[in-house]
């Protein structure tokens, strides 16, 4: 997945803090904020609060304790659902990758659920679990579970022949082959599943709060949209973005640290949290 170097259109810069990349990024941010602020002033805060107003409101709802409390409520459901999905998803993906009969047994359901929008099941989830934390946990779980399973499964199943053969040739047992070749070879894929699942779990967390229980961060959005407080809505969205980007960053850092043998380009390239960043086998 090597990227083709592109020609720069900006003036060459002397080395220092202001590298070309930094300059482009900063310009982009300043421009976006300016457009946002100006548009906000033109249409009025009822439709779109500008960034200056959003920052003020962000500080307010943080200091009042409302935002931290909502964040805590959200994170509870997120954490339980996500950890549960990882703990169940990895072993299931491994079993499916290792035993063809297990794959045959589960594959149709996994494929079907993976392409179905989980939101379509929200009414059923309400019927089965009500609108309490169990329901939100279920939504988070079903949002990220399949990413974990499918990536783990692919990682275990697609371990290259050229890696297994030499170890088998040295007289390794099936168990040793699994421990010494398949597990370590699949580990970066498992990690990708964990990372992709994280992004989707955050999405699931917010959607659950929007669609079935007016609570947590999603609940704040619903509540404040009823009174047209776009400044607070944006403040909450910023928190969600920071939460998502931040946690994916941390996992990426962990990946490069755990798998130094993977060429860094395969781990770093691509947009964060997108399917395109699955490492090459």
């Amino acid at each position: 997945m090597a990227t083709v170097p592109r020609t720069g259109i900006l003036l060459p810069l002397k080395p220092g803090f202001w590298t070309r990349d930094r300059l482009v990024r900063t310009t982009s941010y300043i421009l976006a904020l300016a457009i946002w602020e100006i548009t906000g002033r033109v249409v009025g805060p009822l439709f779109l609060a500008g960034p200056s107003q959003v920052v003020i409101s962000l500080v307010e709802v943080t200091l009042s304790g409302e935002l931290p409390l909502a964040l805590l409520v959200s994170l509870q459901a997120f954490f339980v659902g996500y950890v549960f999905a990882v703990l169940v998803g990895i072993p299931l993906g491994m079993l499916m990758g290792r035993f063809e009969s297990v794959e045959r047994f589960f594959e149709p359901y996994i494929s079907a659920f993976f392409v179905t929008p989980v939101s379509a099941f929200v009414p059923m989830i309400i019927i089965w679990f009500g609108i309490g934390i169990e329901a939100r946990v279920t939504v988070v779980f079903s949002f990220c579970f399949f990413d974990v399973v499918i990536n783990t499964f692919n990682g275990v199943r697609d371990v290259r022949y050229e890696l297994v053969e030499p170890v088998r040739s040295l007289g390794a047992t099936q168990r040793q082959i699994f421990q010494k070749v398949i597990l370590p070879a699949a580990a970066p894929f498992v990690m990708s599943g964990i990372r992709l699942g994280l992004g989707r779990a955050i999405r699931g967390m917010v959607i659950a709060e929007l669609l079935l229980a007016t609570t947590g961060l999603g609940g704040m959005i619903v509540t404040y949209s009823a009174v047209f407080r776009t400044d607070v809505i944006f403040a909450v969205i910023i928190v969600i973005v920071v939460l998502g980007v931040g946690s994916v960053r941390i996992l990426k850092g962990l990946e490069s640290w755990l798998f130094p043998w993977k060429e860094s380009s395969t781990i770093r390239s691509g947009f964060e949290g997108t399917a395109g960043s699955v490492p090459e086998g």
Binding site: E165, P166, R168, G171, A172, K180, A185, F259
Partner: protein
């Protein structure tokens, strides 16, 4: 210890099922009989699809054979074991293991503890000329260096027989000649029995005591040639001797007949 390899009428047929009842049978090997003496260096050449790699994998135990008999030192050959070791064309190193950990994996598999493994691993890393690279990862090494690790990994388990499947096929010409010479030195020192598969006639003649020429469909032994070039071969111009040229031309002619005129130039 006597490390004689005996193959008697070894046959292998691959059956492919393309859905339904239709079967596609390919006779990869048909009645192959061969004896390789203790400490002998034997090369196998032949056109693509002549079953030479299949033969090697069968001897290693990676795939089963249908008929015939294979014994090493009188014992029949079964699943892969550490009395024989294989060097692969694609090196097959584990990318998450350092050089030292790749070399030691055979000993690890046989259950030897780390403290005992260490000096053995170190010794073989030195023999293949990789001292100083113990903690490097494979992707940090050149192709030639990676195959040195592949060779050290096999030498570390001290097998009686070393099977080499086009080990230098992925290397550039210069590295390849260097590796050939070093392989001969190591073989001379360690007294192993070697079966070496190659596409290069030149390489086969340079290295071997005998060259086995195989023909395709079904894979059979077409001819066995003795190479009587004086050893050691690294201290004179082997390739310039009349016998070398003659053998090379002879093998080339055989292979060309087999390929019925659709051949590439000699060498490789």
């Amino acid at each position: 210890m006597e490390n004689k390899i005996v193959l008697r009428d070894v046959s292998k047929t691959f059956v492919k099922r393309n859905g339904g009842a239709k079967e596609n049978r390919v006779d990869a090997l048909k009645d192959v009989s061969l004896e390789v003496a203790d400490q002998e260096f034997v090369s196998i050449v032949g056109p693509s699809g002549c079953g030479k790699t299949t033969l090697l994998r069968i001897i290693d135990g990676l795939i089963p054979y249908d008929r015939g008999e294979i014994t090493i030192n009188g014992r029949p050959v079964g699943a892969p074991a550490q009395d024989r070791g294989m060097v692969f064309q694609t090196f097959g190193l584990l990318p998450w293991r350092t050089v030292a950990d790749n070399v030691g994996i055979g000993l690890e598999i046989s259950g030897m503890e780390l403290q005992k493994r260490k000096p053995i691993v170190q010794r073989w890393i030195e023999v293949v000329g990789l001292a100083g690279f113990e903690s490097h990862y494979p992707h940090e090494l050149s192709g030639g260096m990676q195959q040195r690790v592949g060779l050290a990994r096999v030498l570390a388990i001290n097998p009686a027989v070393i099977l080499m499947d086009e080990p230098f096929g992925a290397l550039d010409a210069q590295t390849r000649e260097l590796m050939q010479e070093e392989l001969l030195r190591i073989w001379n020192q360690e007294k192993k029995t070697v079966i070496f598969i190659t596409h290069s006639i030149d390489e086969a003649v340079y290295l071997s005591d005998r060259v086995i020429v195989m023909s395709a469909r079904p894979g059979q032994i077409a001819e066995v040639l003795n190479v009587r070039l004086k050893r050691p071969r690294w201290n004179y111009d082997v390739r310039g001797t009349p016998e070398f040229t003659e053998l090379r031309a002879h093998i080339w002619k055989m292979l060309r007949q087999d390929r019925a005129g659709v051949a590439a130039p000699p060498g490789d």
